[in-house]
């Protein structure tokens, strides 16, 4: 009892003070909120998209650390874009096509953010052909000086292309398209400015695709920068969804409450919450990335669901005769504890996402917890004050009174779960579902299961472009880069090159590896070239002078300036998690057998390398996150209800939903990746609200001595409708994401909708069932009702 008092006293004191303040100084309160809202509207309007390459990869993983350490030496591997210009009729050997290609190359040259010295296309001077003749090597730029668009010139170009080894790289295997390889600066070397991906992507669209695409010419663009640009653009569509969600919620809320004010004010407060959330985010220095831009939806939905609880309580109080101010005040007091605890558990549940060391998820955690904190202010504090001015309206009150008077409520159907037989049945079904869920979720895979950019849909323009490039060129878009670190000037030693050669050969045994390229290949090929192209010479020479001669001209990105780092670029068939796992394991084995002071094989760079790191982080993080979320939420419930059985009644249905959600993910072919990892935490954090509200109300009847069935019926009659409505508003808030062009938003939408609906069902059915079975002893009521 003393423990109870200890926990409750600060809450109750704060409630009393708050209540006094809110209802004594209503005008002041509203004025204050209005002022803050204005200020935060201004802040919110300044929020900008903020997508950085480094934010989407784990922030503290050995692979990423290695990459960041040698980032400057890995030219063009981190960030580049490929633009493929296609001749849809005929092939590239036409004057018109070549002219277009030249213009596009020139156009790209001048786009800010492009690393001009590393720009490559058949029209850039750094792409050359070489050939062995009787006199030795000859070579020249692929487009000769004498090019004039004539058929002879074009024929010369064709020959040069064949001699340059660029078929499959800068020129398609079927000669119907050519690529311009555009490496980018993540940060401008002189000004230090970050690359604005959205602007860059728009420039690509405006200056390249729109300008040059026409009958006979098609443009395909791939690369990380384009993905991000498309993501940010897709985000603007998300704003449309918000509008739709708002309207639908408005209509449903009116139908549910029958009160104009009881609809408009909660919605207004929820919109204010969203504004505050965005404004505060901007104030804290965050931007919007494709993940955190979904948070306003969640904030809106959670805010509305809590607002509904309060309006519902106000209606009930009004129906019992209180005037609007009294009704609001009573409702505030009544709902204060469950509302506060529910929101705190949401907020703290989100904060636990910060254990995942991927910045984009940590930012999501901040955005979401700021949003929930704001809801406490707008929907728990402001809303009752505004309602005390407005009142719910006579219609709502009449409706409430009618439902009191009704003898038989259709909610009584659910009370079957409070009797032993019903409860046992429900629990057995739940148990069966749990087993099924457990079995199905064993198929759950980490990471990506599809080709192309996972963030976008398979039929998005980006992925279609990506498919085009993968089909027509020889280099896969899934690259895994191993950084081989040697002593200074040692990267071209015989020992280094033969060890790298051996390494690459050993990769042939790894299923999923398509091919690889490194400095060793350059040395071998040029050595063969120095011997008239004879294949028999394609080996690393023991003679260091021959090696040096073979490495006189090395393409950018295969070694660094001080010859202490040589990357091995491994092309993979795909970036599926099992492929990545095989590759990283094989490399680990090789590295452990061969690493020494002189030479080390370090992982990893390249998009597949980052994905491997991400997969590793996620596979650990998913359990950590679950542990924290469930731990925190259970603790809060324990502090609120001070009974372990109660906590179990509330948490067990949540656990079932989490399990079923994982099974759903496995069946839908959605892997656990950066986007879907927070979903379960969100589902738990938000889903616990139902249980808290229901159980709080239930308890008020139980302490008066009602039987579980009667208490539950009363609870449902008063809060059941709002709980169901909560489930609905939450689902509406997220279900629209399914139509997003951004695939991970669609995935999150499906999963969250599922979780919210299942959580609601679990709270309505399983909670009483568990309560029935756990509280089998007739609890001594506090005071028998006379």
């Amino acid at each position: 009892m003393n423990m109870t008092r200890l926990l409750l006293t600060p809450i109750k004191t704060s409630e009393q003070l708050l209540e006094r303040f809110l209802f004594f100084r209503r005008g002041l309160v509203v004025g204050l909120f209005a002022l803050l809202t204005l200020g935060l509207i201004w802040q919110a309007s300044q929020i900008r998209p903020d997508a950085s390459f480094v934010k989407m990869i784990p922030s503290d993983h050995p692979y990423v650390n290695n990459f960041l350490q040698y980032r400057d030496d890995l030219a063009g591997l981190g960030n580049s874009v490929r633009i493929s210009v296609e001749a849809t009729e005929g092939d590239i050997f036409s004057a018109e096509f070549q002219d277009t290609l030249r213009q596009v190359t020139d156009e790209v040259f001048f786009i800010p953010g492009v690393d001009r010295s590393a720009l490559k296309s058949i029209w850039t001077p750094n792409v050359r052909w070489t050939e062995v003749t009787e006199e030795g090597f000859v070579g020249g730029p692929v487009i000769p000086q004498t090019y004039d668009g004539s058929p002879d010139s074009l024929e010369q170009v064709r020959i040069n292309i064949l001699r340059s080894g660029q078929v499959g790289r800068l020129v398609a295997n079927d000669f119907k398209s050519a690529i311009i390889q555009v490496p980018l600066f993540d940060r401008h070397p002189q000004t230090g400015e970050k690359l604005d991906y959205q602007q860059f992507s728009h420039q690509l669209e405006a200056l390249i695709r729109d300008k040059y695409e026409r009958a006979g010419i098609a443009v395909h663009i791939t690369g990380f920068a384009k993905i991000v640009g498309d993501l940010i653009d897709g985000a603007t569509q998300v704003a449309l969804f918000f509008a739709i969600a708002f309207v639908v919620t408005l209509v449903l809320l009116y139908l549910y409450s029958g009160s104009v004010m009881g609809t408009l004010i909660p919605l207004a407060c929820s919109v204010v919450a969203v504004i505050w959330q965005l404004g505060l985010l901007n104030l804290l220095g965050y931007g919007l990335d494709p993940y955190s831009m979904l948070v306003p939806f969640l904030v809106f939905a959670i805010a509305v669901s809590h607002g509904v609880q309060i309006v519902n309580t106000i209606t009930l109080e009004s129906a019992q005769g209180a005037d609007r101010r009294l009704a609001a005040q009573r409702a505030f007091r009544a709902i204060f504890i469950p509302g506060l605890i529910a929101l705190l558990s949401d907020g703290i549940g989100f904060v636990t996402l910060r254990v995942i060391e991927i910045e984009v998820i940590q930012d999501l955690a901040v955005a979401a917890s700021v949003g929930v904190a704001v809801i406490i202010l707008t929907n728990l504090l402001l809303l009752p004050v505004l309602m005390s001015y407005a009142g719910v309206g006579q219609r709502a009150i009449n409706r409430a009174r009618n439902s009191f008077d009704r003898e038989h409520s259709y909610w009584s159907v659910l009370t079957v779960f409070t009797c032993r037989r019903g409860a046992a049945t429900a629990l057995m079904v739940a148990g069966g579902l749990a087993v099924v869920g457990f079995v199905l979720s064993s198929d759950l895979k980490i990471g990506d299961l599809d080709t192309g950019a996972p963030e976008l849909r398979a039929d998005s323009r980006y992925n279609l472009d990506n498919k085009f490039i993968t089909e027509n060129y020889s280099t896969s878009s899934d690259t895994f880069v191993v950084m081989v670190k040697t002593g200074e000037e040692q990267c071209s030693s015989f020992e280094t090159l033969t060890l790298v050669d051996q390494f690459q050969h050993s990769l042939k045994n790894v299923a999923g590896v398509q091919s690889s390229i490194s400095l060793a290949d350059v040395s071998e090929r040029v050595t063969a070239g120095l011997n008239e192209g004879s294949l028999k010479w394609r080996s690393v020479s023991r003679n260091q002078m021959v090696i040096n001669a073979s490495l006189a001209y090395v393409p950018a990105g295969l070694m660094n300036a001080s010859c202490s780092l040589l990357p091995v670029i491994i092309f993979l068939d795909d970036h599926r998690a099992d492929t990545l796992l095989r590759v990283t394991e094989a490399i680990e084995v090789f590295a452990s057998e061969h690493n020494s002071e002189q030479i080390q094989f370090l992982m990893a760079a390249g998009n597949a390398g980052f994905e491997a790191a991400t997969n590793e982080v996620i596979s650990v993080a998913q359990y950590e996150m679950l542990f924290w979320v469930y731990g925190v939420v259970s603790l809060l419930c324990l502090l609120t209800f001070r009974s372990i059985k109660t906590v179990f009644c509330i948490i067990a249905p949540l656990a079932l939903t989490s399990l079923l959600c994982q099974a759903l993910m496995a069946q839908l072919g959605i892997g656990v990746k950066v986007a879907t990892l927070p979903v379960i935490a969100l589902g738990v954090g938000i889903g616990v609200d139902y249980g808290i509200y229901i159980y709080s109300k239930l308890n008020t009847y139980l302490v008066q001595g009602y039987s579980l069935s009667d208490a539950y019926l009363e609870t449902l009659k008063s809060t059941g409708k709002s709980v169901a409505f909560t489930g609905l508003t939450l689902a509406i808030g997220v279900v629209l994401w399914v139509f997003s062009p951004i695939r991970f938003q669609a995935d999150m939408g499906v999963l969250l909708t599922f979780m919210f609906i299942w959580n609601m069902l679990g709270a309505l059915i399983l909670l009483p069932a568990l309560a029935c079975l756990l509280h089998s002893k007739k609890k001594e009521p506090v005071h028998v009702v006379q």
Partner: protein, 396 residues
Amino acid sequence: MITETNIIIGSPMNKSSTSILLTICCLLSGIVFSFPALAASGDRLERPSLVLHTRTDQIVASNVLLLDIALAGSRLVAVGEQGAVLLSDDAGYSWRQAKVPSSVLLTAVNFVDDQNGWAVGHDGVVLRTEDGGESWHLQIDGEGINQNRIETLEQALAGLDQSSELEGTDRETLEYALEDAQFAAEDGASTPLLDVWFANRDLGYIAGAYGMLLQTRDGGQSWQSMDHLIPNPDRFHLNAIQATTDGSLFLAGEAGLLIKSDEQHTAWQVIESPYEGSFFAMQESKGLYLMGLRGHLFRSDSGTGWTPIKVSTTSSINAAVTDSHGQLILLGQGGLLLQQQDTAFVPLAASTRTSFSSGVVLGQQLILVGEAGVTRVPLDANVTQATVPSDQGGRS
């Protein structure tokens, strides 16, 4: 090992002796088994070739560079990079890998019968098999060759005044040669060997870079350097050895070098070359053919007068095989694959860009090796365009 242990345990010995023996056996086996691991991190010359896992049932290791292929009876033996020696007993449908104690690039292979064969490659590696290619052992390597050369030249200098064997050589040439040999020895085992041919189980020749020529009369147990005995003062690479039906030996090499020997292989003389570019291969098929850089092909009846044959390509021709009708099939760089039809050469199969290094005709199939590993091309009685199941890949 295991049987030994059993026997030892079976005999009446006390427990401690048994356990000591067991420990020793374990240690020994541990050392033996760990040898590969130790050697694995060693020089490529001493490192056994990595076993490649079979990827598909059909063609294995399409991403392994293979440079030569030979028939050992009805078995196909292909050699290539990283010491890969691949064997096929079903005409090239499925392949398995032989145990090879070295991981250097192997450039040529030759079998005299279905059991005995030799393969040569970079770093002066010479491998011998006596069981049809299943297992190979090292006969000599670059260092041994260097040593051999130095010794031979020193002996030659010493016996300069006496023997008339050394026609056309003088002291200065030998001294230069000796200096070169000593420099080469400092570089270590860095000599690429480019071709091998054996007349029978005992007599054989190896040609290599920088004018290297080796002879063995005992099946490869010992080798003699013959560089100084052939007229190659500029030490051009010797790319190919061709034995002709009349018993003489031709050496074709860099910068148009063409050397012919007599039937005893003692007198070697330079043949006037029809071309100043490199020759990569020779083939005998109703006449002698000489081919090489930039699509050059020449024919001669006896080996001394060569007439050019027009081939519409500028890609280097790496090798030629004869089909069942005696028609020549040329193969080379950039997927070059042409079949002789009367006087012209027409493409044999759908074009591919990966180069071919060598090939062999087996039944109705042409089995090619090159950049894309093994490629099988069906040969019809009527030459039609056949699809080549080529995989794109390899070291891109």
